[in-house]
Amino acid sequence: MQVVLLTTTLILIVIAEIKLWHQKDTPKIIFYCILMLCAYGLSVLQMTETTIFNPSVLIETIISALQNDNSEGLR
């Protein structure tokens, strides 16, 4: 249900940005669609609570390794 809602919202947003389509600038439209698909994919992963790449954890691990510290912070 949540995913259906999200899809509908995103389609509405794309329609709302109709000005973009009037410009007939193909590279711009393609890039816009790619970004929108990324946003959609990320939102679906977030809604389904799928564990994916987390930049905070990665950065934390790298910094801990650089500091030669094996502790995992608060976690």
Binding site: E17, F31, A39, L45, N54, S56, I63, L74, R75
Partner: protein, 362 residues
Amino acid sequence: MKLEVLSEQQAISLMVLFISGSAVVLSIGGQAGGDIWLAVILSGLLALPIVTVYARLHSLYPHYDAFQIIIVIFGNTFGRLICLVYTWFAFHLGALVLRNFGEFIITVGLEETPQLFPVTLFALLCLWIVKEGIEVLGRWSNFFFRFAIIIVLITTALALPELNMDHFRPFLFNGIMPVLQGTANVFAFPFAQTIVLWLAFSGFQKRSSPYRIYWLGILMGTLVILIITTLVVAIIGVEIYKHSYFPAYIAIARLNIADFVQRLEIIVAIMFIISSFVKVSTCLLATCKGVAAITNFHDYRFTVTPITLLMISTSYFLFDDIMQMLFWAQDIWPIYAFPFQVILPIIVLIGGEYRAKSLKKQ
């Protein structure tokens, strides 16, 4: 592409509100203990040479924005790579501030509301103002800057009877090291984050001096942060300041004047919402400009909607809980942000000076 310019007053207002950002409510520089005021002053002074680097780059290349400057200096490939690094930094900072906002709302107010709901509404407003451009953001900041100053002054005046200056004594009790740690912490968050402002600014009006804008912005920002942190520590003491999630909110909630003036913590919430709106919008603007520069598009506006949605999703899965968020802000951020905030700007300045000299010779 039309260069959007700001007046001196608008740029300074934007800078002060950006610096205030989440630093208004989160605990910063707690390591310095009772000498936190010294840590804030030192970090403000430390930020001056860094912002001078941005001002120098603006005056060397007055008709370009930051991403164009980087591409002009380092060429197409390496320049775009640096742009990519800075775009990530602005995007990540925006997501972090959005998360701070979400945690603040669900911790102090709407406990049962899903965090995504206030964050999405807030981000949609940021989307709107970024689509309107930096000139509108500048005018908005200039207007709300007055409210922010009035809020700080009123809060200070009302808090006077509650202040306990013993919290600051004895001076340098634990030596200079904790003060230096606190200085590094406050320097990284929020002062050196002004790099994102450099990325977002396109240019200034003809008579404006970038040096005056950056210096005055940092000095006024330091004053605001100094007043807020000193006030909070003087009311609740160092230990509660260090160990609470939102110390300013707790401190101002304690104010009670003759049982008549009370529940003033809403003032802190208003101040936080105003300043974090400016901060998220600036980060979003810088990210969109970065994406447009990397992909060689002349207009950044069409990327704002998808990038805002990406930022909302990223802010959601950055941290498991508020404890991890605060640990990150205090212990990880200063180390992670150092290359973006200090090393890269100095490299860009060296490259910029060299490039400007070689262009003059030609």
